[in-house]
Each structure stands twice: as C-alpha cells, then as structure tokens.
Amino acid sequence: MSLLTTLARLEAVRSGRAEPLATVRHRHLSDRPMVVVPLTAAGEAGAPLAVLLGTDRDAPRLHLVPQPLNRTLRFDYLAELAADLLPYLEFFGADVEQIEGSEKDPETGEKTQVFRELCADAPQLIVPNSAGVHHLALIGRSTRFRRTVEDDEPGPYPAPVRVPLLGRWLTHLTDRAQVPGSSLLLPMTGLLARHWATGQSHLEDQHLAARLAWHFPPDGLAGAEAAERAESTRDERGQLLHPPAGPATDPRFDEVVLGPAIARYDAATSALAHSTEQRDDSGAARAREAVREAIEQLRGVLTAVLLPTWHDVWRGIDLLRTLPPAGHLEERWTGDRWSYTGHRDRLAAGEPPQPRQDDAVTAARKLAQREREQARLDVQEALDDPLAMAEHRLAGEAFAGVVTEVVPDYDTTGRSPKPRPLVTLRTDDRPHADLGREAHRVHGPSTQKAEIVAVDPAEGSITLRILSGMGRKKEPEPGSLPEPGELVTFTLFELTVRQSAPLPEPDDTPWTHGGPPGAAPGPVPSTSAFDEWE
C-alpha cells in the first residue's frame, strides 16, 4: 500500500465516507455484464450450493443443489449452470472483425500478410469478491476433465455433455483474471478497492457489504458504524441481517436455516423412494408434493440469503459507472477480446482441456505476460489519471511543474545542426533526477525524450535538454515544445511498453495457427486424464 492510499484511508476515517483513489474508471465495464453470485456448501472444496446470476438486475436466476452431498444433484446443477451461462459466453463469438497482421513462415522465415478474426466484443463476468473468482476456478478444475455420456468410456459417473465445456470456459476466465488490467472476470471488491479507499483495512474491505457501507452509510451513520452493522447485526434467530457475500455461507445460517431445510428435502425424497418401492401411488404423489415444497423452501431461503449481495454487486456497478472511462480502456479490452477469441478458436479446433498444471514453458510465458501487462497497466494508468501519476511523483519517478524558460540550443556535431533546446521548469517534486538521466514528456504532441542537465533543489528547478519529437528540421516544429507558463509532466520511466498487439499473445494462439510449442496438439485425453470421482 502506498502512502497516498494510506492518506486516502485516513481521510475516509475522518469523513466517514469512501474517498476517491482514481479520477477515472480503470477497468472496462460491459454494457451487459453477467453478474454471478455463487455459494458453496461448507466442508468440501468447490462443492456448489447455489448461484444467483443474470444480466438483468431485476431478473436474477437461481440454481441450487438441494442436497450438496449428492453428486447426481450436483451434476444436475452444473448442467443447469452450463445451460444458463454458456449461451452468454458463446454469444460474443459470432460477431467478428478481420484484423490484418503478418506471420513468419516457420521454414522460410518469410513474413506473409495474414488476416485474423477478432471478436467484436467479449463476455464479462462480475462476482462479489476474489473468493468468488477462486470458486469459479475450482468448478472449472472439477468439471473440465469429466467424462460425459458421449465419451467412449463414460465411466460410472458420466457428466452432462455441456458440463466439461463450462469447466473449460471457467478455467479460461479465471486464468485470464490473473492478468493485470484484464476485465473478462472481475471481483467487485477488487474493482471498488482500485477506485475508492475506505477507512478500514484491506482485510475488512473483502466484505462487500461492509465496503459498500462506506459508500452508502444509512441513517447518517459514519462508515465504520455502518460497516460494523453490515458485518454483525443479527436478527432474533441469530441470522445476519446482511449475509456475507460468499461463496462461504455463515455457519449460523447453515445450522439454523439451511440444515433444517435440507433435512426436510432429504426426508421428503426418502419418503418418495419408500412409497415408490411400496407401489403406494397416493403416498408417492404426496411425497412428490413434499419434495416439491422442500425445494421451494430451499429456493426461498437461498434467494433470501443471496439477494442482498446481488443488489450490492449492482450498486457497485452503478458506482463505477459514475466514473468516466480511462483513455486506455479500449486498448486493454482489445487484449481481452483477443483472449476470448483465442479460447473460442481453441475450442473450435477440438483441443483438449487445459492441463492440470502448466508445463514449464507455458508457466514461464504466462508469468512473463503478467509482468509485462503489469508494467503496461502501471504506465497506462499513470497517463490516464493524475492520481495514479501522483504515485509516481511521490515515488520520485516523475515530476510536474511550470515551464519558466525555453532556450534554443543545437547539436552541431553532425553534418546538419539538430535542435536540442533547454527547458527549465519549477517544481516542488523531488525526483531521483540524476544528471544525464533520461526523461519522457507526458501528454506531449508526440513522444518526446529529454535528458536532465541541471537540478537545483533549493530553487525547485530542473533543466532538461529535449532530444526528440521536434521534427527533422533545424528548428523545432511549431508546437512541439512546451511554452513558458505551461504545466508539464516528465517521467523517468519509458511511456511505451513493448506490446505484441494487435496480434494476440502466444498462449492465446490456437494450435491451428501454429500455437504455443508447449501445447502441441496432444492425444485425445486418455482415461487417466480424467478425475476419479470417489
């Protein structure tokens, strides 16, 4: 955490309200995001209990597992989830644009022009918190290797056909979520944390309702009190008035509400089994009715416990929409579109599911990609947002000030003299500006490099020699230099990060396009590639 963030938190403690950490929105927000609020059953990793999802805040859809220990019911749930989510995920694959690029022939080394499809838009999933992302990753991991009835050897517990496909999509989205600045799958707490500071710790900020309490404190309460209410107020049955955002449920809910409702379902199903066995038709009809009622009750209690979080996520989206989009969002979203398109193509090419563990080459490449994206994100955010640039100024990696003097000067060592003017500015910033160090002008008319030639900390002045971005003539192009009185910013780091766009990252390249070497087309998954169920 930087001192600027700490300062914003301190201010939030005093004001009792969330305080801004950004002046623009740094993450892409889809016009039609899919909000997903999952719950897990306690005690078993990745065991789903229920989910509320949809793209319409007024019409969430609920799916649930009436008995989480029953694996058949779990498959039914996953099949429902696949049927609900896959159409949304696949929808964006249809509308494409053609992007021109060049590709090197692996044998001759010759570059040839190629056209590549890029999906015009991509899906966006929003979950309440990072634990929600982790839960989706577990579901992805637990389903993408499942055998289905369509396999040659379906095994004793074949999954519904579309379930492994859902697993592969979830794996892709959760993997992509680890790339800094990506927006295919986002946790709401993380989104809010990027843009606002609260007067509590990061740990407490993981609780979505408590976090939002600092944005919308009710009844004139201060944020801290409102957050504590959201965390701990309980009704006379010991139930939290604002259930946690999951995916873990409150133990008291499990004990007092969920447990009995599941027990009632269990009783009804075993009564049904019994009367069916006894060929007692009227008993079976009654039992069927009881099963239906038990499921209705479960739907009721799970909806009630999920709805507050559902609304919270949408309130968070509203908050984020109040911020103007950052300048580089479009560019980063294009990266997400490539990622989406690449996965679409890999599925179409019939590639096997993502491996359990990346091989060394893929792992190294992913790590390098994440580091590169982090660097690019840092630079882009600084360019898009003065508050982000302030972080670099505080760290001594950038400085801003008013130009006091511009003195023409020339480099006459070559055949024709080149302009090398001196620009002096007054600044209160204290950059690590060693003489001779390279500096880069922010928001100039073109990229402009300079060299620090004089620093006077007592006067607060820095003089730079401008080295580029002035045209090819002896005199600088008009408008290419800052003028006295102008406010300018320079950074001590480069403002362009080498990027592979517009063509996709290697790991987003399907094998049909000579994809990554580590992921050469493997054999169709053998039986041992599947998980054992019991």
Binding site: L7, L10, A41, A45, L203, G259, M389, A390, L394
Partner: protein
C-alpha cells in the same frame, strides 16, 4: 472501578497458577488446546491475549459480555464432512489411512510387521487418558521393530503453570521415533493445498510435536534441546516433519503430505516461554483486575460489562485487523482502536509508513501542516497530501 470484596491479594509469593485462577474467578477454566496455543503465535505481541489465555478465560463469552461477540463458528456441514472423512480413513482397521502412511513412513504392506493399535481409553477423563497415552508411547518407543498407531492420544503440556491437554488425530511410532499425523478435510488439489490452511495446520501440529518432545525429554531425564531447529534423538522423540492426511483432489481418497514444522515449532516455543514470564504482565495489572464471567446466586453477573471492559483495558493490546480472524476479542479491540483514533485500525503496514505518528488526527494534521517539519514521515505525508489535492483538482499549488 468497583473492587470486589474477594479481590486477590497482590502477594507475589503466590504461585502463578493461583494468581491466574483468581483472575479468572470461579468460571470453569477454558483449557488451552492446540488450536488456541497455535493462535497465540498469530499475534505474539499481544499481552492482553496472553494473559486471558493463560488465565483460561473464555474469550468467546467475554466478547459477548462486552457486547461484541466473536463472529466465529463452524458449519455443521463442515463438521460432518470432517467426521465422515476421518471415519472413512479409520474403517476396516485403518486401511485407507495406512495407504498414504505406508508410502511416507515405509510402513510394510499387509503381512509384514503387524500394526499395533493400543486402546487409549478414550472414554475416560483427561488425566487417565494422558497417563494411558504416556504408557503406550513409552512401550511403543521401546520396541524399535514394532509399528504402533496411537489413535487420538492425549498429550500433556505445561503452559504457564497449568496443564494443557492436547489431542492429535494420530501418532505413529516406529524405530523408537514418532510422527504426528493430522487429518484435515481441505483437499490437496493437483499436488498442492491452500497455503493458509497448511500453515494453520502446521502451527497446530507444532504444538503436538512440542508436547511429544517434552515427554521424550522427561522420560530420558534430559532437558529439551535448546535449539528448536535440531532434532533431539531420544527414544520416542518426535520427527520434525508431520504428516497431513487430506482428501486428494475432489475425491474422498486420502493423500499425505509431509510438512516440516521446525519454524512453527520455534515460534511456539518462544511464545510459550513468554507465557511462562506472564508473572511480569500480571504484576503490572492494577489491583482488583479480574475477568470473572460467573453469575451470582441471584442471577446477576459477578462483574458488570463496564467492569469487564475496564479490566480488559488494563492489559495492553496489540490490535491489528488480522485479529478479526484470529481472536475472539477482535471486534472489541477494533472498536477500542477506533475509539482511540489509532492508526493500526487500517492495518499493520500503516504503522511502518507513518513512523512515530500514532493517531489518525495526528496523521491528518501532519498532512495539512505547512512549513517543513522535522519528522520525515510527517513531511512525506504533507507532500502526499499536496499531490493528492492537486490531482483531485481541489487545490492547485
């Protein structure tokens, strides 16, 4: 404050355990277990927690009396799942449990040396069980060829003058050495488990290892080896790697992972030796301090919530937001930190950033101060505040 008539005398000649018992009052002692001992290591700097734990005060009940109950609880589903997994492991003469142990400990396959599983009198009282465990352990360690599985043994550990009883899931003894086995229901997925959960399990297992080390040293009539990182090779000494037995991937089949607990062991030993020095903390308490949670004959509490709060306040705390997930008093201490305007409410790291600044008010004053102060942290804050104001367009310098 209202000093109760039976306030303990401050005579330092009293044994520690008696002084701690007086602090607790007549309420039943909340005995320390491996979990609470391990949790001590989570916030080593906190005197408040050390005193309350040493005195065996029920912190959960105390938190409720103070008006901010602990948010902890375990779902019945999670408990059921744990029980089911463990009973599956122990079915058919421990068949499923022995499978991964064989691989890790070189336990011979069926037909080799038979496995001895002594009866540890699980239905008896703690003292009887602990004696029985000690006997069984000595016998097992004395026969280097035998393979012995102690199922839920009960170990003793002296902590600050009182006895804690600790119950590992299992201890395997062979070749004169023993190995702690902990059964956990979190999975090992594709070869790795949640590091936070493994860490918690390792801290807990380290407490068992320590108890076994003490037992072995006592049997041999020797002192505990001073360096926690070297293995003391006495008869019956525990190995410094423990085995966690967890479900593999999404199945119910077990897999075992060896976890080196030397670091956790060192922390726990340091913590516990501090607990022994708790007398000094007690000396600093004002007379009449007590945490009596008992109820009088007429149903009224022995001490009012205010009195309890004052008593708690008398012991210095070291709050950080981590407390919310590791200590029952988390919400109470947070409210106090907020009331006291302390910067710790924002996190442990914040204190480092703010140097000698301790309160939010001080920090914000430094941020808006003009002119150069002498304090480096204050100066940086003022610089940050100016940058922030400029960026937000509120005030351009």
């Amino acid at each position: 404050m209202n000093v109760s008539t039976n306030a303990p005398s401050r005579g330092h000649s009293e044994p520690l355990s008696q002084r701690l018992a007086e602090l607790r009052g007549p309420a039943p002692q909340r005995s320390l277990n491996a979990r609470s001992l391990a949790a001590l290591a989570a916030n080593p700097g906190c005197h408040r927690r050390a005193v309350l734990d040493a005195a065996g005060v029920d912190k959960s009940a105390l938190a409720s009396r103070l008006g901010r109950p602990a948010p902890f609880g375990q779902s019945p589903f999670a408990i059921a799942r744990g029980v089911i997994f463990e009973s599956r492991l122990k079915a058919d003469d421990y068949a499923a449990l022995l499978e991964p142990l064989r691989r890790h400990l070189g336990l011979p396959a069926d037909g080799g040396a038979p496995l001895v599983v002594p009866d540890l009198l699980r239905r008896s009282g703690s003292a009887v069980r602990a004696d029985r465990t000690a006997e069984a352990l000595a016998a097992a360690a004395a026969d280097p060829d035998a393979w012995t599985l102690l199922d839920h043994p009960l170990l003793r550990l002296d902590v600050a003058g009182s006895t804690a009883y600790l119950e590992p899931d299992a201890v395997v003894v062979h070749g004169g050495r023993c190995t702690v086995v902990e059964i956990k229901s979190f999975p090992v997925l594709d070869g790795s488990a949640d590091p936070a959960k493994v860490g918690a399990a390792a801290r807990q297992a380290a407490v068992y290892v320590l108890a076994l080390q003490h037992a072995a040293a006592a049997r041999a009539g020797e002192a505990l080896a001073p360096d926690p990182y070297t293995e003391q090779r006495l008869t019956g000494s525990p190995r410094l790697s423990v085995l966690l037995v967890c479900p593999k991937d999404f199945s119910n089949r077990p897999t075992a992972v060896a976890v080196d607990v030397r670091r956790e062991l060192a922390t726990t030993r340091r913590q516990l030796s501090r607990m022994t020095g708790i007398g000094r903390l007690l000396d600093a308490l004002p007379p009449g301090t007590g945490f009596d949670l008992a109820v009088d004959e007429d149903g009224g509490p022995a001490r009012s919530a205010d009195e309890l709060a004052t008593a708690v306040e008398a012991v210095p705390a070291a709050y950080s937001p981590d407390c919310l997930s590791t200590c029952e008093l988390g919400f109470h201490c947070r409210a106090q930190a907020r009331c006291g305007d302390r910067v710790e409410q924002l996190g442990r790291g914040v204190r480092g950033e703010l140097g000698s600044i301790r309160t939010v008010t001080e920090a914000l004053a430094a941020a808006t101060a003009t002119g150069s102060g002498t304090d480096e942290a204050a100066e940086r804050l003022a610089y940050a505040a100016a940058l922030r104001a400029e960026a937000l367009g509120a005030a351009v310098r």
